[in-house]
Symmetry: C2
Subunit: 602 residues, 2 copies
């Protein structure tokens, strides 16, 4: 099926918008009227530009307040429409979007609306133009799609059909199943947008908060399934008004948009296997957890990070045969420490950060093929002779993803010259989760990519108070791979972009005692926290005393419990967490996050 995007979803000039849509692989666009009016190009030049870029102008939009009007007002509508039809002929645009009226002049009279839309469609047909009538959620008299279809049906003109917009239908909580009852030849256009879990007045919601399919909470898969099952043959077109997309780099937004359509198309294809024109994605190769995390340090932060790892119970197990890279391990937890120079990057000297996530999977090639199909570019790597050739790609947050089968004959561990085995029992077992901080402008894109690449589910979506402002925190996970993405609710380039790696253990009290002996700097937790804990839990006083001594935090969900502690921060950005999950606890101690962030602020 053709893929289209509305120019209003992208930033910049019209030329920049069209170039970005073309570069991301779209077949067509919806041309937003203000983008035409503000362009120095004539309609004919825009047509030529679009043709050069391989883009159809699928739709010209919007035309407002056209129907159910007194005769004199409708006469002015026709005059205005004639000019639009003439422009559309020059543009080569075959379809005009007419939104249900919001005019105070309009009357609640379906027959009049149908009659005037029929007249409009007849005039349009003289220019080779068709009219797609859309019910706005905030339309004055027509706000749901069944109503718009009844009017289109009554008008009964071959150049008049309906435009369906997922946002308008789903924001009203309407059931899209009725779409299947509309004849295929009357389904003229399909606009797709998702939205987050907010409850607000539809117009403001629509203008600011729409997002690409898969980035919000609407069931776009089910919605699109209904439309395609009804026989719709036009493009899948994204019409997303979003404060971030309006501002950020159009080329990047267009790639994000295309990825969301790829994920959506694949999901719908599973529901409608007989439907042609939907491209499959390579299947998810289930991960078996983290093979490793790579931490990049510079000469200034290296000592600090190595000291922390040793104190946490890690052993230096190997040195890379050709690079300044070390392998540290205990139990199934592996960390690769990579020394680099930060000159010419946006990293401050002395910082440390998670640079690579090694994902353990039975089929690294297939997993990488899926990430590649999700438009992740390959990671540039210098691979020495005889070294493992792990498939590696760059995720939208800038992290590199390496796909690993650690136990394989050609496993990546062989790239490291072995030093020694670990001595004694491990303190920590494995990497429990990794928390990253993508830039605010790439947040939704990043979360969608990771979810789609690994088949992870959204497990939580919280707002956390911090001394620097509110932080949004989303956790995505399956049974093996757990990732958290944090971002300031308000863009704040000055706020630290904290990251952390959390390790699991089976006895956090023993682990804490070990860390204390090893002089690992732990984040101090205020005594007031424990006074409150004593008042609201049944934890024994002796347990609370030990927790207070070690800065161990606590959360509870039913009978399941969670104990966790934090190191101080290495460099500006990186810290470590130790967690113990008791019972079926699946969270991350979110209620304690404000306490942790306040302690980090001090």
């Amino acid at each position: 099926m053709r893929k289209s995007i509305a120019t209003v979803s992208l930033s910049g000039s019209l030329t920049e918008k069209l170039s970005a849509a073309s570069a991301a692989g779209f077949d067509g666009i919806e041309l937003f009227e203000n983008d035409l009016l503000a362009s120095p190009l004539s309609p004919k030049d825009i047509r030529l530009l679009a043709e050069d870029l391989g883009l159809r102008i699928e739709l010209y939009q919007p035309f407002r307040d056209a129907e159910a009007l007194p005769a004199d007002a409708f006469a002015r509508v026709l005059r205005r429409a004639e000019q639009k039809f003439a422009v559309m002929e020059q543009l080569g645009a075959p379809m005009l979007l007419v939104c249900s009226t919001v005019s105070a002049q309009a009357v609640d009279d379906d027959l009049l609306a149908a009659e005037q839309l029929r007249t409009l469609a007849e005039r349009a047909s003289e220019h080779g133009v068709r009219i797609a009538y859309e019910a706005l959620a905030w339309g004055r008299h027509v706000s749901d799609y069944r109503h718009s279809w009844r009017i289109v049906e009554a008008a009964d003109h071959p150049s008049l059909g309906v435009c369906l917009d997922s946002f308008h239908i789903l924001t009203l909580g309407d059931d899209p199943a009725g779409i299947r009852e509309i004849p295929a030849e009357k389904l003229f256009f399909l606009q797709l947008a998702d939205a987050p879990d907010l409850d607000m007045e539809p117009l403001h919601f629509s203008r600011h908060y729409r997002c690409f399919p898969g980035q919000g909470v609407f069931d776009l898969t089910g919605f699109t399934e209904h439309v395609l099952a009804a026989g719709y043959e036009g493009p899948l077109s994204l019409e997303v008004f979003n404060d971030v997309f309006r501002r950020t780099d159009a080329e990047r937004t267009a790639v994000d948009a295309m990825r969301s359509l790829i994920v959506l198309g694949d999901a719908v294809r599973h529901r409608l296997p007989e439907r042609v024109g939907l491209d499959p994605l390579p299947p998810v190769s289930p991960s078996q957890g983290f093979a490793f995390a790579e931490i990049t340090v510079d000469t200034r932060s290296e000592t600090q990070v190595r000291g922390m790892l040793a104190g946490l119970g890690f052993t230096l197990r190997g040195v890379h045969r050709t690079k300044p890279v070390q392998l540290w391990q205990q139990g199934d937890a592996r960390l690769v420490v990579n020394r680099a120079h930060f000159n010419g990057t946006d990293r401050e000297r002395g910082d440390a950060f998670v640079s690579v996530i090694g994902v353990e999977t039975a089929d690294p090639r297939s997993a990488a093929a899926r990430a590649d199909a999700l438009l992740a570019p390959p990671a540039p790597r210098a691979i020495g002779a005889g070294e493992s050739r792990l498939p590696a790609l760059i995720a939208p947050d800038g992290s590199n993803l390496y796909f690993c089968r650690t136990a394989a004959d050609d496993g990546w561990l062989a790239d490291f010259a072995p030093l020694r085995d670990g001595s004694g029992a491990p303190v920590l077992d494995a990497i429990d989760h990794i928390a990253l901080s993508p830039h605010a402008d790439h947040y939704d894109e990043t979360v969608l990519f990771y979810r789609a690449a690994f088949g992870l589910a959204l497990r939580s979506n919280e707002e956390i108070a911090s001394p620097h402002g509110l932080v949004r925190s989303r956790a995505i996970a399956d049974d093996h791979l757990r990732l958290i993405f944090n971002v300031p609710v308000l863009l704040d380039d000055a706020a630290p972009r904290l990251q952390h790696v959390a390790f699991s253990c089976t006895d956090i009290f023993a682990a804490a005692a070990h860390l204390r002996t090893a002089d690992v700097p732990l984040l101090p937790i205020p005594g007031n926290y424990y006074e409150d804990l004593a008042a609201r839990t049944d934890l024994p006083a002796s347990t609370l005393t030990t927790m207070r001594d070690h800065g161990i935090l606590y959360d509870r969900s039913g009978e399941a419990e969670f104990f966790h502690l934090y190191t101080t921060t290495a460099g500006r950005s990186l810290f470590f967490e130790v967690v113990q999950r008791v019972g079926s606890y699946t969270g991350y101690g979110a209620p304690n996050a404000p306490i942790r962030r306040a302690a980090q602020h001090l």
Copy 2:
């Protein structure tokens, strides 16, 4: 009356919050529980710190889900409450805020709620603590203030009263007049917050969008009048959850908060002249428009700006006797051009910007006294012997405000050595309006300050699409002084912070012809704009042709019309506008702003 602020309204650590509240002149605070839990200070140390800073801890908050519970759950509540009462004794906090329950365990039983609140109040009284019961707008069974009062009345305990929160009451559209029926001794606490004109689910709205009184659309003056008329004697306390305040400098936010209480107190005092404890502001001295605007240039932008001014019909009328400053004039429009160095400032070399707004008023001293009472600091100025001593202060956006009586004997014009009179009739008449771009973090603060300082009304509040993202644009004005404040809807430090000065004229076609002859670089407006204008207006074809030739834009409101054109940008930030108002047009051509911004982007 005492003035208080909730610690949750300020960013940073508890110590930083208390210091900021004290520095801004608050008498007290509401201590938010999480600020206590996250503080390394003991309750006793917090008490000592607050005492040192001259702050009362007026309220400890919130205590949730206390009432209408099964017996075992209420037993746990009492256990939890006992610990809070003990902490409050150490804090010296006399009052606990109890919010109406949102617990799924709670039953809809006012008698049970009253009985349990009475028990809680009795326990509290043993610690010298009182309970203020507040109806949350999203409370499970109790969501309006009358209902909370009925329960408090039924409980009938001297240590139990109501807390009134303007946000919860006004967001539900409730009538606050009923507050007058609550006995004064039962009005335990008053929390004040305003909110913008958005329609969304109250909990999300409350947590993100509250603002200080006067910065939103609620009638806080009327609300506060009801509460004070009922005999409330406690503090006026601000409880504002706002994404910006949570993040930005606490000291600045506290000053902004104090200013809003000063403005509110003055407004209420006018309604309740007999009420003691409300301090008056110096009265508004009505402005008579703009005396001048000062534009600061550097050696690189000076030539460009001077060339534009000459082309716009301005004449160099004088040179400052002691500074590198020129006076340009035509008609009643005066511009002062000030050459400075941008080294060490955040201005790029070659930029130009509005640095001073000279306000014409019959009583400069009185006008300045009001701005001073609104916490504008004095502007540091080097004043030479014999030069005019205009009162000068710094507005929150960084602009300097000079208060002028131009025709006075000691008028500021005498600071300039006269050069020559203007030749011929002026092209432009006066400064019509000035548009500024405060930083997003200071936007609401800036608009409130200018409104209060000059007694201006909010005339429009628009969101304008631009190639860099949405821009919020608010116009405030009286009959003489018109100011526009623009800001990106999403913080964007990279976006240009455009400013402009608009001049009025009586014949924009003549003015445009003059500008064309004088080679003033005008912003080109696309032909597509005029095609659309032809289709939706009755402007004659010949008029449209002239408008297209000169880039004149058009807006209409009823019978009133607006014609305007723009120069290109001088430096990175500054441009000029020429406007002609026909009839009673009071706007600024906002529908054309996206066209203008797109043209500027090209």
